[in-house]
Symmetry: C2
Subunit: 193 residues, 2 copies
């Protein structure tokens, strides 16, 4: 009998976790990875520093946990629609995320962190690879069905479409207006038939 009557979970624990993680994410967005300070997180969360160390062993663990939150968004539904419509839907979603969201705010910190710590790097690259898969599959299917021109390479096309959106955010300081996604697809893929 596996000690069934364990004590119920204290709600204070989960509550602390949430408050601290939210503060950590805000800190990452504002301060970045390199100057990230646990004491600032504690102050921002209105929490004792010791509470943070009760939940995570050290700074890196907290940072990793905070970054993990970024990847809890609902992906757009790709069940039905023409390939071109689905493509537009998914890219509009990406553009909106990159334009304005906790993800967008933390993106530079995430990139920087991935460069400095190998665990965060694995995390970052693995997640990005997963996130790209549906898009690449969609484009590949579109090419196969003749909806997209045969000139395309699915992976390169995905890189180009995503790249355009991310490049603007990171290198020009502008955001990619989700409304312009149609024009982007026209440019890279071709106009709708």
């Amino acid at each position: 009998m596996p000690a069934a009557a364990k004590r119920a979970v204290d709600p204070r624990i989960e509550r602390s976790r949430q408050v601290i993680l939210a503060a950590a994410l805000a800190e990452l967005g504002e301060i970045g990875y390199g100057a990230f300070a646990i004491e600032s997180v504690a102050a921002r969360a209105g929490v004792g520093k010791s509470t943070i160390y009760r939940h995570w062993p050290d700074k890196l663990a907290l940072i990793a946990a905070a970054f993990a939150i970024l990847h809890e968004g609902a992906a757009p539904d790709l069940a039905d629609g023409a390939p071109r419509e689905k493509l537009e839907r998914i890219l509009r979603h990406v553009a909106a995320m990159v334009a304005d969201s906790p993800f967008s705010v933390c993106l530079p910190a995430l990139i920087d962190a991935a460069e400095r710590d190998s665990a965060l790097r694995r995390f970052h690259h693995r997640f990005q690879a997963e996130a790209r898969k549906p898009l690449i599959g969609l484009i590949a299917a579109g090419i196969a069905s003749g909806d997209f021109p045969a000139r395309l390479d699915a992976e390169l096309a995905a890189l180009s479409l995503l790249g355009a959106i991310f490049f603007r955010r990171l290198m020009t300081g502008e955001t990619f207006d989700p409304a312009r996604v149609g024009a982007l697809i026209d440019a890279v893929i071709g106009a709708p038939r």
Copy 2:
């Protein structure tokens, strides 16, 4: 008479500058912007800390000076050749830079720094905008001359091409093999005629 016989310039000054800036750039690549430490730069350069402060007023000034070095590369010659060839030349150059160079090493730090400090942000965005101009102009000319398909928007096409290269570096951890630039152009622009 403007005091002509000024003392000749002490070569130690320029020598210190170079050694320190090189060390600062290496530090930015390794440590990043947030945790950048002048004392580490001094140690790395084999230089007294006071020497650094004799040349730059503070940490930010040194960082800015170091980043400025990144933008002293020779751009590829665009004097002659078919539009497609010129495009390939310029993108191969970009891909090589992003794949392996001080610029590539410091790129995450630069992006992070641009996010945290407004002066560095202006610097980063201005330079990037300047660097994009020839590419956009080239594509626009190619469209006008009929060498590139009319479907294209010059700015979006430039974003896509550059974006693909940068996206790979920053989000996938892989580099974009300069040899694959031809395939990238085929995908976004179309095969050569």
